[in-house]
Subunit: 286 residues, 3 copies
């Protein structure tokens, strides 16, 4: 089965940029399936793109080609890449956009071979001239090493805040508000065990996993007091907010059929703290 | 021929939600054609989604799979459904979203069989974990009864206002303003006969059909006076408004190359009245 | 290989219009690949659509079917067209939208044959009832002459300003601001030769080509002073603006990782002048 190409860009949909890239792809790899992951990443927002990619990759079949063009440094010396990682292929600029999806065994090559580019690539639209052709040729089976030289060290962006140094508290930050007013945070990944107890596997950093009873936890919001956990939207009283474990395993601040960001006057870039009772402490309580 | 999957959601395009659902679909049913009907339904607006679906279904080939996720009650006890109706398949929550497309012979089953869901579905993103897999398996030929138990009574939402009790008047309401400023109303369906005469087949409710000469009718707008009928945009004087029979057979309030909603200061949720001469009355006039 | 259908409209994505057109297409030509070029052309903006089309066509494989519906005159007497030009097929209204992509050898026919339309086309949605079916039938191999009578003279819109009458100056205008704040202008097409020297091939009008050293040129902005040329974004000091040769070969006003339109308080519809030293003049300089 031919792989599909998944596009993630900050090009928006008001200009023909994305469509032109699809034209280039379809000229090289006719009939290939192209899926839009998102084109509304805020211009140049590498962090948001890298997190959206991390949230999405595992839901696509192995062998998918991810064409990621959020590229504030287009035309500069940042390198254009093809990466083989986890059975998938990633194509885009070496600016940190792949920070959270790289497996240890990932291999990366620079896109240098002009046979797999449009003639005379311009310095302002590598999406069209370099990245789209690379994705289309990769779909036709061209291997990473055929594009250029192996690269040993990729650019990485700093991870969002996730600190567990103090027992009973995890420090994090708010990342992004979605269309429904749900505020995504850096706290996670949480996987449900039973009755409010979750396994916490930090998705960034080197923290050890632990078990946390969210039923007994609070989420402190910078200058906004604290909120409780809810299993589902339904469990939250109308016009109040709570935190849930969202669909990516990250904690989200939400309300029941309302807009949490608006209700709280809260958004991305704020500090949050998850306070929870330590098991050992609990045992000692008389 | 493999069917296509048509997606209608309120997820917008600023987040990767829709793309992730497509990833799930393509993992189960590789290469299937996926068509975006609309993802910009206002969050949770079941009525608007149900009308957009009603406007669209008949323009797709029979056998199409409609994947409809406007789901303010995600994670609550509303049932996830697969419906066979009119030769098509509909997948989405049992919240009334299918009210206007259900044929009398429609059959519905609850999506219960975990073989056709992602493992450990989360309570916050049934679009990804339950509905997208169901659509993809349905495309592979899994029948409704294989997903779960037959359901006898589906949730319905109230129909938009359409009242014909008083001879010579039809009461309705404005529903939705489109990108061009055209205001869709609940009045219809009208099918052209000749020279301004239309057959009126009420699209909701139990009213009998009748013939109406729109050339002699007025549309009264709540607090905005009345406007006349036009056959096409062209027939309307510049910067004035009129009503036409729109592309779905519903009356729309429009202007000629202008924005009717802005010109009138008018929008959804208002009462409108179509006044027209009754044939019988006319005959008796001396 | 089956061609793909590329859609360019002003229908936006908040209504199901585009999705409905895709339903019609897929009913006639099942499984065909449909690519969205852009649906966010401002309502009725024929010039912007015609330029977006011109920027895009050459990046699609020959044989592509371009379905272009920006149609402020829908329902009036403007003719619906199918055009064969440059190995591609173009379908849309005869309102000038194809002005910049027509080759001398182009042939156009009127879409008259009701066998290739939906039954009873309505006067308000030719995209659905006439143009989408035509694109789908063209994809199945129906030839232009089978749709209707040959047309000899197509409507054209005026070209954007591009004047070279005065030696050492090219007059132009700003056309469109993109998502990143880059301002597209009518000045071009420029193709790089070496070290700041470009060949200038006027993309509209009958001006002779010439060579221009952009390194020694200034771009005068109406009421906004003048700016210099840069090879890439990188070469521009932070928070300053410059002009570059953009990805279509047209001059664009840009900044380095900033929003030029916002920095300059500048936008479409303004006069600009490219001032450059004439070679002959230079030679005579002592």
């Amino acid at each position: 089965m031919e792989p599909c190409i998944v596009m993630l860009t900050d090009f928006g949909t008001h200009d023909p940029f994305v469509g032109i890239m699809k034209g280039v792809i379809t000229g090289i790899s006719p009939g290939i399936q192209i899926i839009d992951l998102c084109h509304e990443i805020p211009p140049g927002d590498i962090q948001q793109a890298s997190i959206a990619l991390w949230q999405s990759v595992s839901y696509f079949p192995q062998g998918t080609i991810f064409l990621v063009v959020v590229d504030p440094g287009v035309g500069t010396h940042r390198r254009p890449l093809i990466i083989h990682s986890g059975g998938n292929i990633f194509i885009g600029p070496d600016n940190g956009i792949f920070t959270f999806i790289l497996e240890k065994s990932a291999l990366a090559w620079e896109l240098e071979n002009s046979n797999f580019q449009l003639p005379d690539p311009m310095r302002t639209f590598h999406g069209r001239d370099i990245f789209a052709p690379a994705a289309a040729y990769a779909a036709r089976g061209i291997q990473g090493f055929e594009f250029g030289k192996l690269i040993s060290k990729l650019v990485k962006i700093p991870a969002p805040r996730l600190e567990t140094a103090i027992p009973g508290v995890i420090f994090g930050e708010t990342l992004h508000t979605d269309r429904f007013g749900n505020i995504l945070t850096s706290l996670g990944v949480f996987k449900p065990k039973n009755d409010g107890v979750f396994s916490f596997f930090p998705w960034v950093g080197e923290h050890p996993p632990m078990e946390i009873n969210l039923r007994m936890a609070n989420l402190h919001l910078q200058n906004r007091g604290k909120i409780n956990w809810a299993l589902t939207f339904e469990g939250i009283p109308k016009n109040q907010c709570a935190f849930i474990v969202g669909s990516s395993g990250l904690i989200e601040i939400v309300s029941n059929q309302g807009n949490a960001a608006r209700l709280l006057g809260f958004g991305p870039g704020n500090t949050i703290e998850l306070h929870f009772p330590m098991k050992e402490v609990l045992r000692r309580t008389p």
